[in-house]
């Protein structure tokens, strides 16, 4: 892999240890221009470490990263100008007003007054206009989060990385942010998102990498990821009291409000087989419901239960 200008981000063999903790253990993948990319993984997986290395806040022990073909170490100035990063921590400078903070940040990137109309526009879009002259210290957490997002975009970077932008954010604001990110993406910006809300990733991201313990477990389009899951779920409610036949018991994955959820392998356990077994046992069904796996099932599969077979296409 090399740093190709056709890729928004090219990540190659990145390793980083904090003392004995191997935060990143050889991570490599590319993100194409214009992609909406999800970076998922449990707490401590190494997502923020990777983002901080891309942003130049942390130095990798090994490996290389290119932003639109610009190496983040050798050609750091260009690389940094081409990305905007929203950090995970809610950091702010208490001594400045919202609008001044944004103008200062634009200035750091070498953008002068010509960037001020764009700053005003973002204040409106992110619903911060009424707070433009408020001191940073007087803002609520959600408002500080929005300023942080605006700050990452002051220089109109073609690549934007958001590290959990919707953490601790109310439903309405989350919708505003989704709209905002989709709009950025629609205008051609490459967006990289980390989140613990998997429906969010499922809805927004075109491609997803799941990392765990510093390694990429899988990287696929969202559709592939969902399709390749070898299971589907069947929820049944029995009409009369009765015991589930012996053959079906190992398939039970959950029980709630008198319903039983079975986890069926697409190949080995056809749904018709379940019905046959139930009829043979003399059991009648009151209700049946099938559910396709969502990202959460896949995520759990990949990150919590390594004894089960890995999803096809898993990356080692």
């Amino acid at each position: 892999m090399n740093t190709s200008p056709t890729d928004a981000l090219s990540i190659d063999g990145v390793r980083k240890a904090y003392g004995k903790v191997q935060a990143l253990d050889g991570v490599g993948f590319n993100i194409r221009r214009g992609e909406f990319f999800g970076l998922l993984g449990p707490n401590g997986a190494g997502k923020s470490t990777l983002i901080n290395i891309i942003a130049g806040l942390v130095r990798a022990d090994q490996g290389r990263i290119g932003v639109l073909g610009h190496d983040t170490v050798r050609d750091w100035r260009s690389a940094r100008r081409l990305i905007g990063v929203v950090p995970q921590e809610l950091v702010f400078d208490p001594f400045f007003k919202v609008v001044d903070m944004l103008r200062i940040q634009a200035g750091y990137y070498g953008c002068g007054r010509e960037s001020w109309p764009w700053i005003d526009e973002m204040l409106v879009k992110l619903d911060l206009d009424s707070k433009r002259n408020a001191s940073m210290r007087t803002l609520s957490g959600g408002m500080k989060r929005r300023v942080l997002i605006a700050q990452a975009l002051v220089h109109r970077p073609p690549v934007v990385i958001l590290d959990e932008p919707t953490a601790g954010v109310d439903v309405e604001l989350r919708r505003t942010l989704w709209g905002f990110m989709s709009e950025l993406h629609a205008k051609g910006t490459t967006v990289v998102l980390t989140t613990h809300y998997l429906e969010e990733a499922q809805d927004l991201c075109e491609r997803i990498a799941i990392i765990d313990k510093g390694k990429v477990r899988v990287i696929e389009t969202t559709a592939q990821l969902l399709n390749r899951h070898p299971f589907r779920f069947l929820r049944i409610k029995l009409a009369n009291e009765g015991l589930l036949p012996e053959s079906l018991r190992p398939l039970v994955s959950g029980e709630k409000n008198g319903s039983i959820e079975l986890r069926l392998d697409r190949e080995k356990h056809p749904i018709s087989g379940v019905f046959t077994a139930l009829r043979a046992a003399g059991l009648d069904l009151e209700d049946v419901h099938t559910r396709e796996p969502d990202l959460e099932d896949i995520f759990i599969e990949l990150t919590h239960d390594h004894s089960r077979p890995a999803v096809n296409g898993g990356v080692r």
């Binding site: 200008p5 904090y18 942003a55 130049g56 806040l57 942390v58 130095r59 639109l68 073909g69 610009h70 750091w76 100035r77 260009s78 940094r80 100008r81 081409l82 990063v85 950090p87 921590e89 950091v91 702010f92 400078d93 208490p94 001594f95 200062i104 940040q105 200035g107 750091y108 990137y109 070498g110 953008c111 002068g112 764009w118 526009e121 409106v124 879009k125 700050q151 220089h155 109109r156 073609p158 709009e183 950025l184 205008k187 051609g188 910006t189």
Partner: protein, 272 residues
């Protein structure tokens, strides 16, 4: 709502032309000046008042003492030393507290993520600290000149000593800010290095009046040369030749700048 003008299929190379390195440096400098300007009471007025109180008390206590140099009485002798001591302490405090504060608040990431190089950081912090030093020194001199007439023997030497000393301490403040991870570390640096060295540098006396050991020891204290050379600018007389003071101040600045720029270039303690 008008349409957001985001760069779409711009070639990244063409796209980069819209950024200017100079704007980055000017913005950081302006921001650093604004930071202390917003609290002038703490950053300029307070140190000036403290120094003037020293002047008042010592001038009274030492009244009637023999002139330190021929034709220079004690109160006159005291003023340049006090000005330089205040410059030293405030240039140091400006860059060190700004950097440490940003580090502790976490907002240093905004600077660390920005495309600002070591030289731009360095020059911006030093310029801002020098602006504060100019304010402190001019305020002190303005008040002192109302009561104490001061000659001006060598204005260029005076300016050179001021700039070299102010810049050195601004750089030392940057180094301290980079190394410190809490305010305690910074306080230790101030209390155990800056304050003792500035009090033991001949502000209140000529080092010729010291016992031999302390006399010799003073000659290894860079602050001694800063004060002595600054005093020369006013009176044309000092404890050591002006060339030696200039050489020490310049050497100190070069040494500290080398260390500081190395730290900034390698990301020492800043980029984990």
């Amino acid at each position: 709502m008008n349409q957001a003008k985001l760069p779409t299929d711009l070639a990244p190379e063409a796209d980069l032309a819209r950024f200017s390195d100079r704007v980055g440096f000017f913005t950081l400098t302006a921001k650093e000046i604004k930071r202390f300007w917003n609290v002038l009471g703490q950053t300029v007025t307070a140190p000036v008042v403290t120094a003037l109180l020293y002047l008042l008390v010592f001038a009274q206590a030492m009244k009637g003492r023999a002139p330190v140099y021929p034709g220079v009485d004690y109160t006159e002798f005291l003023v340049p030393g006090l000005v330089m001591m205040t410059v030293i302490q405030n240039a140091f405090a400006n860059s060190s507290s700004s950097l440490t504060q940003s580090k502790i608040m976490g907002n240093l990431v905004f600077l660390l993520m920005a495309p600002l190089g070591a030289w731009e950081w360095f020059a911006a912090y030093v310029t801002a600290a020098l602006v504060r030093a100019v304010l402190v020194a001019s305020a002190m001199l303005a008040v002192a000149l109302l009561f104490v007439p001061l000659p001006l023997h060598a204005p260029l030497a005076l300016l050179a000593m001021f700039l070299l000393s102010g810049a050195s301490l601004a750089v030392l403040g940057l180094i301290a800010g980079i190394v410190a991870s809490k305010f305690d570390h910074l306080a230790a640096f101030t209390n155990f290095i800056i304050t003792p060295l500035s009090f033991l540098s001949g502000v209140f006396y000529s080092v010729h009046a010291l016992p031999p050991f302390w006399y010799a020891a003073s000659h290894f204290n860079p602050f001694f040369y800063m004060i002595d050379g600054f005093r020369y600018g006013f009176f044309g007389q000092a404890d050591v030749p002006i060339a030696l003071s200039l050489a020490w101040a310049a050497g100190f600045l070069v040494l500290l700048s080398t260390i500081c720029l190395w730290m900034l270039m390698t990301g020492y303690k800043l980029r984990r």
